[in-house]
């Protein structure tokens, strides 16, 4: 029998949110929305009334704030809409209710859940459809209807394991191409031909699993074909001069600089799931940033949710305990008019809200502080948002084992395998269009953070106890990538029959390929299996012994007695032909720009730009305090609403020394639209000056690169990418900072339109003594304000250019010799001479000074050096290498000595609640024009979007 239970809270913020959002999707008649949770309870036998009542009373219903009814759906008060996840989508509520029923002695229930929305008001069919489609349900993972939905139990039918042979041997190039497209293999004809030739040599056609495994392993996502390719770049400068250069592997170029620099504190770069540097004499830090763009475009919550899960697993993959998260997000404008939205694309506001909720859900539930990030809004991300997720980990030095041995068991721990998440790697290696959601919806998943949390606890203890010889995460491609990579040198033999499934009926290739999120694979010596099993039992984690490392050099996969895969590891990992690619870059012609006049409104306009304005609504959704180690928070200042430059973290359990970790980021895609080379250097500088501003040591910085780009097979996109990599390698040398890990996400295009070239530089560094860390809001009345660095006259790629549509193309010139100024600032911080520091980036010095005033809730009076620019450019340019510092007047001489020529005194912190800005044309004191005065409360209102004291 199946029984329906509906639980309805007396008062519901969720319903209120639907009512509040309805006008945004063009519905004005909705006056109330009641939200009920629906539980379908299915049982083999009879469910007693007493049993159901007990389940409701003890588990389902909080009698203080909710009521329930059982049986048929209650009649609708208005229009009743039900929404349920499609069968097979992760449903933790259902699973936990099934467990609770067992614990209460009510036997084996199967549970399916749904949500019912009673929409009350004057609503026609169009209004109900708009609310349903645009606010309540996402067809990619959910079904919805008016009235009541039947329960959505996953199919229980067990199908016989079938392995299909895919005819390949006589196919023409055209047929090979069709096969690649139809099976979402994302392989080109050349690659398909190599596979054809290999199996011709073996004397048979490939199995479905073999072909899929090759497609995953050879996908752009997994093997970074573009970053390994030989590329010929034709660079045409603005005056028409043409030069041709050859680039023998972009990844190799990045690694080469790291090997050149090779600082003593570098532990591991580029070889593992995450880069590793020394922290103190006992511990190392591991850092990784990933992207989850395409899944987030289709299902923002699930896409971002599993993005966090994925990067945290990368940290587990180097045997580190995850200790913090970061996120950088790029969306279309939140206020985009509906008529500009393309078919098949979710509204940017919905994408943003879903992404933020997804990150919050996963990070908060894992108990990781989400401490650093940025948000960029730009038309170029409407069809293809970007979601960068980063994770930091802590491990004991030398504790990460990396060598599987012959005879070790292949052991998987964590989540069960379902059909969701198939083709994640190949899907992310193709561009998107209006039909993408229909074709690859199955690649999108909902995460299960609590299962991953169990893996974290087990891996930490298993590592301490030395229970495994190697470990890696199951990312895109599932077992095929994880086991395929781990067994590359030795060869493995695996039996899929014992794999725990979410529901029966999966075919062997699906089990092998499905990207179950919360899973790790380990190489475990036979004698350690019992101890690992006990550990898994203790922490509610499931373990499966799949097979062994053989020493044969082959990948052998069976399902019981049915052969699934038999391939040489050598072909799998080395058979992929290297790509030869051609790239072109044309420098944009210079454009004449006329600066607008400067008024107080200019400062308010810049502060209100969505990239600059307060991100407090997002930041407070993330727990940034858990693990008790947040020293410099994402929000700082008197009322904790000023923007922070970087996060300083003291890892739990490292109190023996005062050192702390610092995380920062830099990105400037608006610059990338004009000059990707400069973008790389300017993003790098932004990450570094953010890090230095809070007390990070510029001589202990490691960098991550994350390239998000368009289709690299188009030569203009690739040309920009090569230029950006050149910027990274030049930057690493110039700043003396090695790249320790990186990732590229290519094919970020929607219907032929590429995103702006977007490079995120993330920096990880050290604060020698956490007590010396400072933030942007610590200054007091009477403090001196100093400026480090020179301005630039160029407004290309600036927020000012975006706000006033200036058409500037010339971008600021990167720094030639950045380190001396940063070392000077660091010395001043270590000497305790600064009360606050803030970097000049989006919106220039006008915004930097205003943000400090907002953070401290003090006035400021500043005369900005013109450095050869007009008044507008002087205030709004985003030239690199600049920091505003605050210090006691009594420390003026000491600070002047440390800063030398790098620092100039530009004004004071004042007791009045005003921001007073002037521009000095010749020397300090000679102000051009009357100067601008902005009331602090107006600046706060512009920055926060609400009036506030």
């Amino acid at each position: 029998m199946t029984l329906r239970v509906a639980v309805t809270p007396h008062r519901d913020a969720e319903g209120e949110a639907v009512v509040a959002s309805a006008p945004l999707v063009g519905v004005t008649g909705l006056v109330d929305c009641r939200v009920s949770r629906i539980y379908h309870l299915a049982s083999e036998g009879e469910l007693s009334d007493a049993g159901v009542e007990r389940l409701c009373r003890e588990v389902l219903v909080d009698p203080v704030v909710a009521q329930y009814c059982t049986g048929e759906a209650a009649p609708a008060e208005g229009r009743a809409i039900e929404v349920a996840a499609l069968a097979g989508v992760t449903d933790v509520e259902a699973r936990e209710l099934e467990r609770a029923a067992r614990q209460l002695g009510l036997g084996e229930l199967r549970v399916s859940t749904a949500i019912r929305y009673d929409l009350i008001g004057d609503l026609d069919d169009n209004a109900v459809a708009a609310i349903t489609r645009r606010l309540l349900a996402n067809d990619t993972i959910e079904q919805s209807c008016e009235g009541s939905l039947p329960p959505t139990f996953a199919a229980q039918a067990s199908a016989e394991a079938k392995v299909e042979s895919v005819p390949l041997s006589n196919l023409s190039d055209a047929e090979l191409e069709i096969l690649s497209t139809e099976r979402v293999l994302s392989l080109d004809v050349g690659e398909m031909r190599v596979i054809q030739a290999y199996f011709d040599g073996v004397g048979r056609d490939p199995t479905d699993a073999e072909l899929e495994t090759l497609a995953q392993t050879w996908s752009e996502h997994c093997v970074h074909k573009t970053f390994r390719a030989a590329i010929e770049l034709t660079h045409i400068s603005a005056d028409g001069a043409r030069s041709v250069t050859r680039h023998d592997g972009l990844l190799a170029a990045l690694r080469e600089v790291t090997e050149e620099l090779d600082p003593w504190w570098l532990r591991s770069a580029f070889v593992d799931d995450a880069g590793i540097i020394a922290f103190d004499d006992e511990h190392d830090l591991a850092f990784k940033v990933e992207t989850h763009n395409h899944p987030s475009a289709l299902e923002p919550f699930g896409g971002a949710n599993t993005g966090v899960g994925g990067v945290v697993r990368d940290i587990l993959g180097v045997s580190a305990r995850p200790i913090a998260c970061t996120n950088v997000l790029c969306f279309g404008p939140a206020d985009l008019p509906d008529e500009r939205l393309m078919t098949g694309v979710l509204h940017p506001r919905r994408i943003r809200d879903g992404v933020v909720a997804g990150i919050a859900d996963y990070g908060n539930k894992l108990g990781l502080p989400t401490v650093n990030g940025a948000v960029v809004y730009h038309d170029g991300y409407i069809g293809n948002p970007l979601v960068y997720c980063g994770a930091l980990g802590l491990l004991r030095h030398g504790s990460h084992p990396t060598e599987a041995r012959v005879g070790d068991r292949v052991v998987a721990i964590g989540g069960r395998v379902g059909r969701d998440g198939i083709h994640g790697a190949t899907f992310s290696s193709a561009t998107m269009d209006a039909s993408t959601a229909d074709k690859v919806g199955a690649a999108v998943q909902i995460g299960d953070p609590i299962t991953e949390k169990g893996c974290i606890e087990v891996v930490e203890r298993a590592c301490q106890a030395g229970l495994y010889n190697a470990i890696t995460d199951c990312g895109a491609g599932g077992f095929s990538s994880a086991i395929g990579e781990m067994g590359e040198d030795l060869g493995v033999e695996v039996d899929l029959e014992g794999v725990r499934l979410k529901y029966p009926g999966l075919q062997p290739w699906e089990i092998w390929l499905s990207e179950a999120q919360e899973r790790m694979v380990m190489a475990v010596p036979v004698e350690s299996l019992p101890a690992l099993g006990q550990l898994c039992d203790d922490w509610d984690v499931e373990l499966t012994d799949l097979g062994s490392f053989t020493g044969s050099g082959d990948l052998v996969v069976r399902h019981g007695s049915t052969p699934v895969i038999e391939m040489s590891m050598d072909f799998l990992h080395n058979g992929l032909p290297r790509r030869e690619m051609t790239a072109t870059w044309v420098d944009p012609p210079p454009a004449a720009v006329s600066s607008p006049a400067v008024t107080g409104q200019t400062v308010l306009d810049l502060l209100a730009h969505p990239d600059v304005a307060s991100k407090e609504d997002i930041v407070r959704r993330y727990d940034h305090e858990v693990r008790a180690g947040t020293v410099v928070r994402p929000l700082v200042g008197r009322n904790a609403d000023g923007p922070s430059d970087a996060a300083v973290l003291k890892p739990l359990g490292t109190n023996r020394t005062p050192s702390a970790a610092v995380l920062s980021s830099g990105l400037c895609p608006r610059v990338g639209e004009h000059d990707p080379y400069a973008m790389a250097l300017l993003a790098l500088d932004e990450a570094v000056r953010n890090l230095v501003a809070v007390g990070g040591d510029p001589d202990r910085v490691a960098l991550l690169d994350n390239f998000c780009w368009g289709d690299p097979t188009r030569s203009d996109r690739l040309g920009g990418l090569v230029r950006a990599v050149q910027g990274c390698t030049d930057g690493a040398r110039r700043y003396g900072m090695p790249f320790i890990s990186g990732k590229d996400s290519l094919f970020n295009e929607f219907e032929g339109r590429a995103i702006p070239p977007t490079l995120l530089i993330s920096a990880l560094g050290l604060v020698p003594d956490l007590n010396s860390a400072i933030d942007s809001g610590g200054m007091a009345d009477g403090d001196d304000l100093w400026l480090v660095g020179q301005g630039s006259g160029s407004l290309g790629g600036s927020v000012a250019d975006a706000v006033y549509d200036l058409g500037a193309t010339e971008v600021p010139r990167p720094l030639d010799d950045p380190l001396p100024r940063y070392r000077a600032v660091h010395s001043a911080i270590k000497a305790g001479l600064l009360t606050a520091a803030h970097d000049c980036s989006d919106g220039g010095i006008a915004v930097a000074v205003a943000e400090m005033a907002i953070a401290a809730r003090h006035g400021v009076a500043v005369t900005v050096p013109a450095d050869g620019s007009d008044q507008f450019a002087a205030l709004a340019n985003e030239g690199p290498g600049r920091l505003v510092l605050a210090a006691l007047p009594g420390d003026r001489d000491a600070l002047g000595e440390i800063l030398g020529a790098h620092g100039r005194r530009i004004g004071k912190v004042t007791a009045d609640k005003r921001i007073t800005l002037g521009v000095a044309t010749r020397s300090i004191g000679a102000t051009e024009g009357a100067g601008i005065v902005v009331e602090l409360q107006d600046a706060v209102a512009a920055f926060t979007g609400r009036s506030s004291p």
């Binding site: 389902l60 203080v64 169990g454 305090e625 858990v626 693990r627 020293v631």
Partner: protein, 271 residues
């Protein structure tokens, strides 16, 4: 002085166990993080400990309501052992998710006497009034009239620390229940209106009076935490365990540390 053994209960999804262990250790206790599965198997006994702390997190993902699943397990599997702990006067502290668990397991506020029918939940922690998870610093006061014996030494003191929760709105089943909590001294902590991150010493100590964000979730009567009639069991939503070291506070604001709460807890455990 001996370091009393403190049981820190971990269920799948618990995540501030490390923070709590650090606080207990700094306060002179000897923390031991134990998973519910290990307790259930009998590897470790609740009764072998001098105090019990249920820390923050998302036990079982907060599926079916915050703390609901772990509350069920505590009732089904450890109900007897926990009542022995309470009867022995050993301190029991629930923080955030742990508070939600204690409330939903019926240990807080426990039987109120009067008309309230036994076994029917009288108070709960519902979704924040703003409808979402929120992380921010708050100021709270240990209520001067609080009944709990082990809170006596810190009565009236102010604690500044973060909250980080989505379901922290304290709600009671009616005004009569709230009155009962007040008159019996079961209200243990209240949110204050004074600055959480930048305290102004001249500002009077006043309850938040429902004003957001000082009262960060819409809790009735600004209640941030309560105790039971025995005084042994105490729970609160904010995280004093995240402010036990000077550098953990924003802006270097003096005072208001959470450490004295843990010192009181450990001291009670020692007796």
């Amino acid at each position: 002085m001996t370091a009393p053994p403190i049981l820190i209960v971990h269920a799948s999804g618990t995540n501030r166990d490390g923070d709590a262990a650090q606080a207990v250790e700094l306060a002179g206790g000897s923390p031991r993080i134990v998973h519910v599965n290990q307790l259930r198997r009998g590897d470790v006994k609740v009764g072998d400990h001098a105090g019990v702390l249920i820390p923050g997190g998302f036990s079982y993902g907060d599926a079916l309501g915050a703390g609901q699943r772990l509350a069920l397990e505590l009732r089904l599997w450890f109900g007897h052992e926990l009542s022995e702990v309470v009867a022995a006067g050993k301190p029991v502290l629930g923080i955030c998710n742990g508070f939600q668990v204690l409330v939903k397991a019926g240990l807080l506020p426990g039987p109120l006497g009067g008309d309230a029918a036994a076994g029917v939940r009288q108070v709960t922690l519902a979704g924040n009034s703003q409808g979402k998870f929120e992380c921010r610093w708050v100021a709270l006061r240990v209520e001067p009239e609080v009944r709990s014996g082990w809170l006596q030494s810190i009565r009236g003191s102010v604690i500044r620390c973060p909250i980080a929760h989505g379901e922290g709105r304290f709600v009671s089943a009616g005004d009569a229940v709230t009155d009962e909590l007040e008159t019996q001294g079961l209200v243990a902590f209240r949110y204050l209106s004074c600055g959480a991150v930048s305290p102004d010493p001249s500002e009077p100590i006043r309850a938040a009076a429902g004003a957001y964000p000082a009262n960060p979730n819409g809790s009735s009567a600004d209640i941030a935490g309560i105790c039971d009639r025995t005084g042994a069991v105490v729970g609160l939503m904010p995280h004093p365990e995240d402010h036990v070291l000077d550098w953990q506070r924003p802006n270097g604001a003096p005072g208001g540390s959470g450490l004295p709460l843990f010192a009181a807890f450990v001291s009670a455990a020692r007796q």
